[in-house]
């Protein structure tokens, strides 16, 4: 008996060890094969050009190309421009990190020495500079006959620079400087040989006359809605863009007696600095449909953008510039909402950094579009005082108890006396489920809106409520992934998931 047991144990051990050894051998062979398969992709031997994303895009516009030397060729001009901007870019990075990296590619031997000296001094003093140039207006002075030397004057270079001592911000500065630059073509790179600051007479800057009074009038009578399609919330212009459905939604909004829409442009979705034509086309179709129904559209830019870093100021500016220029003449446009709830980024990004970016962007958009107002969608009435001097009307969001709304609104009114205040987002979720202990209901939503609408009518506050539909899906980026937060987000609409009008629909219907 014992013997038999022992025999079975041995047998089991033998079979188990056989299996284990086999498994190890197979795993070993697999590891060797997968090791041999790693390495460069075969296509890399073709040295195909790697598509690069735009990393530095200040506005640059060449003035006169007349020069006593050789006539400038378009292609060469592009190469000079590319390398000149890269020279600024690597210099910005070098001063940020106090590192020589990359300078040798865009500055000649004698010029880079001067940069190195600055970097050495700055790392000794433990100061860093975070800077960017925003605008360049170069004019060609000279281009030599064999195409290897160029002198030009870069007029009114607008620069923004933050000085850090260690990690703390010491000083912020914006200046306009003109330079005369000599660049040499050396082994395929245009490199800066001389960079001199020069005096240039101030350009007659046409101070753009802004004509926004008539639209500001309109702002005072906004009865609006924050709009996302039901099938693709937070992704209006994605691959599921359905013009017919949007038209249908707009009919409902019209039926409700509303006159204004707020829509959102996602920064990355629209292609960052190089805005995709397809997206502009979709936006244009939406704007046209809104125009047909005589809606005004408030376009919120930079949704899901949250960096604000000086290093991508130029990229965000090109993004906004493209969109603003494309739609500034659209009759349905109400104005530009630069950013949705930027104050929520104060903590993670630094208040100063966010505000600097917003301020700069506000002034840019005012330049590009002189006929439409600019606003920022602050997340609370309290934070709406930020940059109140810069915006044309003040927008804020309010999701707290209706009882204290008027108080908060009046408090803001005492701080901002001369500009319209718009309640740009407010609403109440009818969510009734496990995560709020089954305490919500459509009736609560109705009660909320009845109270709020009462306040709004009484205080004559322009409003845009959140939102038309209940949503099946809410992206994580909106409310995170915690169910007690995100579940609520699904039920702010006045039409439910099955397309039925909720009770609140009648309350919000302005024609009643």
């Amino acid at each position: 008996m014992r013997n038999k047991l022992n025999k079975n144990i041995y047998r089991t051990l033998l079979i188990a060890s056989f299996l284990a050894i086999n498994a190890l051998i197979i795993a070993g062979i697999g590891a060797v094969l997968s090791y041999l398969n790693t390495g460069a992709d075969k296509a890399s031997i073709l040295h195909l050009e790697v598509p690069t994303e735009k990393i530095y895009a200040p506005k640059i516009s060449w003035g006169s190309l007349d020069n006593p030397g050789r006539p400038m060729e378009d292609q060469t001009l592009k190469e000079i421009e590319r390398d000149y901007l890269k020279a600024w870019h690597v210099r910005n990075i070098a001063y940020l990190k106090n590192d020589y990296y990359g300078l040798a590619d865009f500055y000649t031997d004698s010029a880079r020495i001067k940069l190195y000296e600055h970097i050495d001094l700055n790392s000794e003093k433990n100061v860093r500079f975070k800077g960017t140039t925003l605008e360049h207006y170069p004019e060609l002075d000279f281009y030599n006959e064999d195409g290897t030397l160029v002198v030009f004057t870069d007029k009114h270079v607008e620069r923004y620079q933050e000085t850090y001592e260690g990690d703390s911000l010491l000083f912020q500065q914006k200046d306009t400087t003109s330079y005369q630059i000599m660049m040499l073509l050396e082994d395929g790179f245009w490199r800066i040989r001389h960079l001199q600051e020069i005096e240039v007479e101030e350009a007659d800057q046409d101070v753009a006359v802004r004509a926004i009074d008539s639209i500001i009038e309109k702002v005072n009578s906004i009865k609006g809605i924050n709009y996302y399609p039901q099938a693709s919330p937070w992704d209006t212009f994605g691959s599921t863009f359905d013009a017919e459905q949007i038209g249908h939604d707009f009919d409902i909004i019209q039926e409700m007696g509303l006159n204004t829409l707020r829509i959102f442009i996602q920064y990355e979705d629209f292609g960052k600095a190089e805005v995709a034509a397809e997206k502009l086309d979709r936006l244009n179709r939406l704007m046209d449909m809104a125009g047909q129904r005589e809606f005004s559209v408030l376009i919120t830019l930079f949704d899901f953008y949250g960096d604000y870093d000086v290093s991508n100021w130029t990229l965000t500016q090109r993004h906004a510039e493209t969109i603003v220029n494309a739609f500034k003449d659209h009759p349905a446009l109400l104005g530009w909402d630069i950013k949705n709830e930027p104050d929520l980024d104060f903590e993670s990004r630094g208040r100063q950094r966010v505000l600097s970016w917003l301020k700069e962007m506000t002034s840019r958009i005012k330049q590009w579009d002189t006929d439409h107002p600019v606003t920022i969608g602050w997340s609370s009435p309290e934070s709406a005082v930020n940059l109140a001097d810069e915006v044309d009307f003040v927008s804020y969001h309010y999701y707290r108890a209706p009882e204290s709304f008027l108080e908060a609104h009046e408090a803001l009114r005492t701080l901002v006396t001369d500009k319209p205040l718009v309640l740009q987002e407010y609403g109440y979720s009818s969510y009734d489920g496990f995560w709020n202990m089954y305490l919500g209901s459509e009736a609560d939503q109705v009660a909320y809106y009845q109270q709020m609408q009462g306040h709004l009518t009484k205080a004559e506050v322009p409003f845009m409520f959140w939102t038309l539909y209940d949503f099946e899906e809410v992206p994580k980026a909106v409310a995170g992934s915690l169910p007690w937060r995100t579940r609520k987000q699904h039920h702010f609409g006045c039409i439910d998931l099955d397309g039925n009008k909720k009770k609140v629909f009648a309350v919000l219907n302005q024609k009643n």
């Binding site: 030397g69 050789r70 210099r91 001063y95 004698s110 010029a111 020495i113 001067k114 940069l115 000296e117 600055h118 001094l121 700055n122 003093k125 100061v127 500079f129 002075d141 000279f142 030599n144 006959e145 064999d146 290897t148 030397l149 002198v151 004057t153 009114h156 620079q161 000085t163 001592e165 703390s168 911000l169 010491l170 000083f171 912020q172 500065q173 914006k174 200046d175 306009t176 400087t177 003109s178 330079y179 005369q180 000599m182 040499l184 001389h194 960079l195 001199q196 600051e197 020069i198 005096e199 240039v200 007479e201 101030e202 208040r351 100063q352 505000l355 600097s356 301020k359 930020n386």
Partner: protein, 409 residues
């Protein structure tokens, strides 16, 4: 001084509270610059002094074209003293400063640094293109930059001497600088050769730079033919020679200029040979034809020039030949081929036989080269079964026709 330089200090009152707790505002600091000099030479010792009150912990931010830095006071609270570091004091141009107290601007200003022109300057020259063509249109460009020992460009209007030499003539020009540089176009000469240039500023000479003036486009030229005899023997080589080819200024064209000799024969076909020039002359070769010909020859330098037209005739070298058939008719022997002195022709005369069937339907052409005076053609049974054929034999421009029957029963 007309210049744009505005500073925006962005102060957000509440925002700074958490970052810079206890910071006193700039209003508590009251300093003014006491240094009166605002114009310096590069590498001067520059010290900025401020008088006032507020605290010793003030910083001076400096900015020039190449970048910014922050330096600290070495003086007392009442008299702040900042020594400008060399990387700022050596760079000509404006240098801007901002006096900072706890991140606030107290006061700001700038001073000007001029290039250090009383030390030995350095010169840089750029010359190009390094090859140009003779005549009145082309030129090279000589660019000169004068810098001081700290690599600052000399001020506008610095007059530089430019010199250029060609053969016996040396020219000098005085050129004032503008937009950082002085420059001069060095025009091509009508004669080909080398132009040497250099520049001089205050006894500092640049190195010698060269551009080569190449001859310009060729002009009309002549050609001649040179041959051993005028028989069309398909064997001798005829030389075609050009005269010395020159450009409009009488310069011999560059070596290697390709000359194309285009020959039109009496059937209208075009033959071609070519040769590059050496010392202006080109010599090309071409084989004699193997039958009587009249050639018209013209040479071209493509896109530039052409020659006279030569007419060259070739006499028949082979008057006639025999064609013999073997017993079974399947081996055809053409020859002997005898040339103008009754000598057997050198190997390689083309003999071709066109084969038709009885009804005149074309079947094939067989080509052979003559060997030791004979061209031999076999018509094997496998390809040409027994029946009647019509043959056309062509060689040295003479055509002979036969009808024959293969019959081996």
């Amino acid at each position: 001084m007309k210049r744009t330089y505005f500073l925006l200090l962005m102060v957000f009152l509440l925002s700074c509270a958490d970052k810079q707790e206890g910071a006193s505002s700039a209003a508590n600091f009251d300093y003014r610059l006491v240094t009166t000099n605002s114009i310096y030479k590069a590498d001067d010792l520059i010290t900025l002094k401020f008088e006032g009150k507020g605290g010793a912990d003030l910083k001076l931010m400096l900015t020039n074209a190449f970048g910014s830095s922050v330096i600290f006071s070495t003086g007392s609270e009442e008299e702040l003293q900042f020594t400008i570091p060399k990387n700022f004091s050596r760079k000509a141009g404006p240098c801007h400063w901002v006096l900072l107290a706890n991140g606030y601007e107290v006061t700001q200003g700038s001073f000007e640094i001029a290039p250090k022109t009383n030390l030995k300057p350095s010169v840089e020259t750029y010359f190009g293109p390094r090859s140009i063509t003779a005549g009145d249109r082309d030129y090279s460009m000589l660019v000169h930059i004068t810098t001081d020992p700290f690599d600052n460009v000399y001020p506008e209007g610095t007059v530089v001497q430019f010199k250029s030499q060609f053969l016996n003539s040396i020219n000098e020009y005085m050129i004032p600088s503008k937009d950082l540089i002085s420059w001069k176009n060095i025009n091509a000469t009508r004669k080909s050769g080398r132009i040497l240039v250099n520049t001089t500023y205050q006894g500092i000479d640049s190195k010698e730079l060269t551009t080569i003036v190449f001859p310009t486009l060729a002009e009309t030229f002549g050609i001649e033919a040179d041959r051993n005899h005028n028989f069309a023997d398909g064997n001798q080589i005829m030389k075609l020679r050009s005269t010395i080819i020159r450009d409009v200024y009488n310069n011999i064209v560059s070596d290697g200029t390709m000359v194309n000799y285009i020959i039109k024969n009496s059937k209208g076909a075009i033959l071609k040979t070519m040769a590059p020039t050496i010392n202006g002359m080109s010599t090309a070769n071409i084989l004699h034809p193997s039958e009587k010909e009249d050639w018209r020859i013209k040479a071209y330098v493509t896109g530039a020039a052409e020659s006279n037209e030569l007419s060259i005739g070739f006499e028949t070298a082979i008057e006639d030949y025999e064609v013999n058939f073997s017993a079974d008719n399947r081996r055809i022997t053409v020859g002997p081929l005898r040339s103008f002195m009754k000598q057997l022709v050198p190997d390689g005369i083309l003999v071709q036989l066109e084969i038709y069937d009885q009804s005149g339907q074309y079947l094939e052409t067989v080509k052979v080269s003559s060997i030791k005076g004979f061209g031999i053609i076999d018509l094997p049974k496998e390809y040409y079964p027994d029946k009647g054929y019509h043959l056309v034999c062509k060689a040295v421009g003479i055509t002979k026709e036969f009808d024959l029957v293969f019959d081996e029963k």
